[in-house]
C-alpha cells in the first residue's frame, strides 16, 4: 500500500484541490451536533467531530428516492438522473467506512441495486482517524480500522496526516496536489503505531461478539425483550441514524386524475408496527418487544448468517438518538451476563 504524509497546515489547500474530483461534503456543526454537508467554506469543517447525526448512508440510500416513473401504456421507466454526480466525502470515520462496506454487501449480490451502485461509484471517500467517546464501541465490532472502502485515509500524527492511499483514485488526488504529500519516515511510522496503541486503550465500552449469534438463539425468550419493549416508543430513530439499517418501503405515489407518477422508496424501520404487517391484518411482529428484539437479532444474528459478520459498526448513534435511552451495548452485555440466563 502506498503510504504518504500530508502537512496539516496544507489541509485546506488539499481540500481545494480535491474539489476537482467532485462536490466536497464534510462534517459541519449544526446546533451542537454534526452533519455531512456540502462545504461552502473550509473553515466551517469540523474534522474533530465525534459523530454525525446521519451516517454517510444518506448519500447512497437517500431517505426518499424515485426508482421508477410509470406513465400509462409506456409502463415503468427507471429514473437514473443525478446518479452520476461526483462527490467527495471528506472526513469519514472508520466505522462509517465499514458501515458502507456492509451496505455494499446488501446492495450487491446476485441482484445488484443499480441506484446504490451508481452513487457508490461516483463518490470518493477520504477517511479520517478519530478518538472514541463514551458511546463508541467500534473496536468490539471490528470497525475501528478499515483495510478497504476508502480512497485516502488520514491519521493525525502531530504536524502531519499519515495517509494511506487505498485506490487509484486516491492516488490521482495525491498526484493532483503536485508535491504536497511527502514520503513517511521511520519516526512517522513509530508515531503512527504509538497513537494507534493509545487509541486502542481509549475505548470505554466493550462487547464480546464471539458466539453472540448463538447467545441470541439461547436468549430468544429472555425477559430482557419484554422490558425493552415496554420502554421503546417505536419511533424508529435508531434505524434512521444507523449506518447499517437499510430497510425500505416502496410505494407508487398517485397524482390525482393522472395515470403517471413515481414509484419511490423511503426509509423504513423494523420498529414500526407496519413492518411485518401483511394483507388481512396478520402481523408477524405485532408487539413492541418482538420488534425491539428483531432489530438486535437481525444485526447480531441474521446479518451474520447472511453476510458472515454482524450488521453493527459500534458507532453509538442509536444510543445517542434513542429518546428512552435504550443502549445497544447494555443490551448485548446484559444478554451475555450470567444472571440473565435463568431469568426466563
Amino acid at each position: 500500500m502506498k503510504i504518504l504524509k500530508l502537512p496539516k497546515n496544507k489541509l485546506d489547500f488539499f481540500a481545494s484541490v480535491v474539489q476537482q474530483f467532485g462536490e466536497v461534503h464534510a462534517p459541519v456543526e449544526q446546533n451542537g451536533q454534526f452533519a455531512f454537508q456540502p462545504v461552502r467554506r473550509w473553515s466551517e469543517v469540523r474534522l474533530d467531530y465525534n459523530r454525525t447525526i446521519l451516517p454517510p448512508k444518506k448519500y447512497f440510500l437517500p431517505p426518499r428516492e424515485t426508482l421508477l416513473q410509470y406513465a400509462g401504456d409506456a409502463g415503468y421507466v427507471p429514473v437514473m438522473e443525478g446518479l452520476d454526480k461526483k462527490i467527495v466525502l471528506f472526513g469519514v470515520h472508520a466505522c462509517d467506512v465499514y458501515g458502507l462496506n456492509l451496505l455494499d454487501l446488501v446492495f450487491a449480490g446476485a441482484y445488484r441495486d443499480p441506484y446504490y451502485q451508481a452513487r457508490r461509484r461516483n463518490a470518493a471517500i477520504i477517511g479520517i482517524e478519530c478518538t472514541p467517546d463514551e458511546h463508541c464501541f467500534c473496536r468490539s465490532m471490528r470497525a475501528d480500522f478499515v483495510e478497504q472502502g476508502f480512497d485516502l485515509f488520514l491519521f493525525d500524527i502531530g504536524d502531519y496526516y499519515f495517509t494511506l492511499v487505498g485506490t487509484a483514485l486516491g492516488d490521482d488526488m495525491v498526484l493532483a496536489t503536485g508535491p504536497l504529500f511527502e514520503p513517511v519516515s521511520h519516526q512517522d511510522v513509530e508515531e503512527y503505531k504509538r497513537r494507534s496503541a493509545r487509541k486502542r486503550e481509549a475505548f470505554r465500552l466493550h462487547v464480546e461478539i464471539r458466539d453472540l449469534p448463538e447467545i441470541f438463539e439461547m436468549e430468544y425468550s429472555s425477559d430482557i425483550w419484554q422490558g425493552l419493549g415496554e420502554r421503546c416508543l417505536s419511533c424508529g430513530s435508531c434505524s434512521m441514524v444507523c449506518p447499517t439499517c437499510y430497510c425500505y418501503e416502496v410505494a407508487d405515489e398517485v397524482q390525482l386524475g393522472s395515470r403517471e407518477g413515481p414509484r419511490a422508496r423511503t426509509w423504513d424501520s423494523c420498529l414500526f408496527a407496519t413492518h411485518a404487517l401483511v394483507a388481512g391484518g396478520e402481523n408477524f411482529r405485532k408487539t413492541r418487544p418482538s420488534r425491539v428484539k428483531f432489530r438486535f437479532y437481525h444485526k447480531q444474528r441474521g446479518f451474520v448468517a447472511e453476510y458472515g459478520r454482524p450488521g453493527c459498526v459500534g458507532c453509538g448513534r442509536c444510543i445517542v438518538a434513542c429518546p428512552v435511552k435504550i443502549d445497544v451495548v447494555e443490551v448485548l452485555n446484559q444478554l451475555r451476563s450470567v444472571q440473565n440466563v435463568a431469568s426466563r
Binding site: 426508482l67 421508477l68 410509470y70 400509462g72 401504456d73 409502463g75 415503468y76 427507471p78 446488501v106 446492495f107 449480490g109 446476485a110 441482484y111 445488484r112 441495486d113 443499480p114 438463539e217 430468544y220 437499510y246 430497510c247 425500505y248 418501503e249 416502496v250 410505494a251 407508487d252 398517485v254 395515470r259 407518477g261 414509484r263 422508496r265 423504513d268 423494523c270 413492518h275 411485518a276 404487517l277 401483511v278 394483507a279 388481512g280 408477524f284 411482529r285 428483531f294 437479532y297 437481525h298 444474528r301 441474521g302 451474520v304 448468517a305 447472511e306 453476510y307 458472515g308
Partner: protein
C-alpha cells in the same frame, strides 16, 4: 452469501435493474372463486414471453401502475410457456386495483423470485401435495409440472380440501384429474350445500385413509391456513416423514423480492431469497416461522 449460481441468468432484462417490471397484458380473467380470480398474463415483449422460465413454487412481483406491487405465486407450470397465470385473492390496495383492470390492460411483472420447490430432490420419487383452501394456488405449478413431466416422478398424489365446492380453486381442472390413472387426486369439501358434489365430503386429514404413502420415498408439499398445517404436519410426522421431506410455502410482507428491503425476514432468513419454500426442519429452527 447469496446463492449467485441459483439465480436465473437468462433474463438480462431483470438483471440490469432488478426493480424494473416488464409490461404484460392481461389476456384472460377467469372468475374461479369469489374474490379469487385467475389472471392469465403475457409479456408484451414476445421474446420474453417465450423465454421466461421459472421453477414451480417461485413467485413474481406484480405491479399495477399507480397502486403498487405485490408478490404473487406463479400458478402456471413452467412446463407451459408463453403465458403466466396468477391466482389472486382480492384483499387490499394492489389486488383491488388488479381486479379493476380488464382484459388487454397492462400490468408490470418482474421475477421469478424465490427458491421454488426443490424439484431435483423429488425426481424419481413420490410426490404428495396437500392443500387446504387457498393453499392450492402455490401448489398448482408443482402439480402441473409433475403431471407434464410424469415420467420423471414416481407416484403423484394430490389431497385438496375446501369449505364447499364453490370455494375450491381450479375446481373443473382438478375434477377432471380424478379419473387419471397415473395420479391420485383426492378432492374433499367440508360441506356441500349444493348437493351435487361427487367427491369426498370430509375434513382434509381424512384423505390420508385413502392412499398408501411411503414416507421414506415421498416429499410432501403442504400449503394452507394454519389449521391445515396443524393437522397435516402431525399426520405426516406420525407416518414417519423426515422433517426435511415436508415442504411448505411461506408468505411475508415483501417490498423488493430480491433481498434488499428487509421486510420479508423470518428469523435470520429472507423469505424472498431463502424461501418462500421452506422445509419443516427449517421451520422449527427459525424463530418467527409459525
Amino acid at each position: 452469501m447469496l446463492p449467485a449460481a441459483d439465480v436465473p441468468t437468462y433474463q438480462a432484462l431483470f438483471t440490469a435493474n432488478p426493480y424494473l417490471p416488464q409490461m404484460a397484458r392481461i389476456v384472460r380473467v377467469y372468475k374461479m372463486v369469489k374474490d379469487n380470480h385467475l389472471f392469465t398474463m403475457r409479456f408484451t415483449d414476445s421474446e420474453l414471453a417465450q423465454t421466461f422460465q421459472c421453477k414451480p413454487g417461485q413467485f413474481a412481483m406484480v405491479s399495477v401502475p399507480g397502486a403498487g406491487e405485490a408478490p404473487i405465486s406463479i400458478s402456471s407450470s413452467p412446463s407451459r410457456r408463453g403465458v403466466l397465470e396468477f391466482c389472486v385473492r382480492r384483499v387490499g390496495r394492489v389486488t383491488d386495483a388488479l381486479y379493476r383492470l380488464r382484459t388487454n390492460d397492462l400490468v408490470g411483472i418482474r421475477g421469478p423470485y424465490g427458491n421454488g420447490f426443490p424439484v431435483e430432490r423429488i425426481l424419481g420419487q413420490d410426490l404428495l401435495l396437500v392443500a387446504g383452501g387457498l393453499g392450492m394456488a402455490p401448489l398448482r405449478s408443482l402439480l402441473w409440472y409433475a403431471l407434464d413431466n410424469r415420467e420423471k416422478f414416481n407416484k403423484v398424489i394430490l389431497m385438496y380440501g375446501a369449505k364447499t365446492p364453490a370455494d375450491m380453486l381450479f375446481r373443473e381442472e382438478l375434477v377432471s384429474l380424478v379419473d387419471r390413472v397415473d395420479a391420485t387426486c383426492l378432492l374433499t369439501v367440508d360441506a356441500d350445500p349444493t348437493g351435487t358434489w361427487k367427491g369426498h365430503i370430509a375434513l382434509l386429514p381424512a384423505m390420508f385413509d385413502h392412499v398408501q404413502i411411503d414416507p421414506a420415498n415421498t416429499h410432501a408439499a403442504v400449503c394452507g391456513p394454519p389449521v391445515v398445517y396443524k393437522f397435516v404436519l402431525k399426520r405426516l410426522l406420525q407416518l414417519g416423514f423426515s422433517k426435511d421431506r415436508i415442504l411448505m410455502s411461506l408468505e411475508r410482507r415483501m417490498k423488493c423480492g430480491v433481498g434488499k428491503c428487509g421486510h420479508c425476514s423470518v428469523g435470520y432468513k429472507y423469505t424472498c431469497l431463502h424461501g418462500p419454500i421452506f422445509t419443516y426442519w427449517d421451520a422449527i429452527n427459525l424463530p418467527e416461522m409459525v
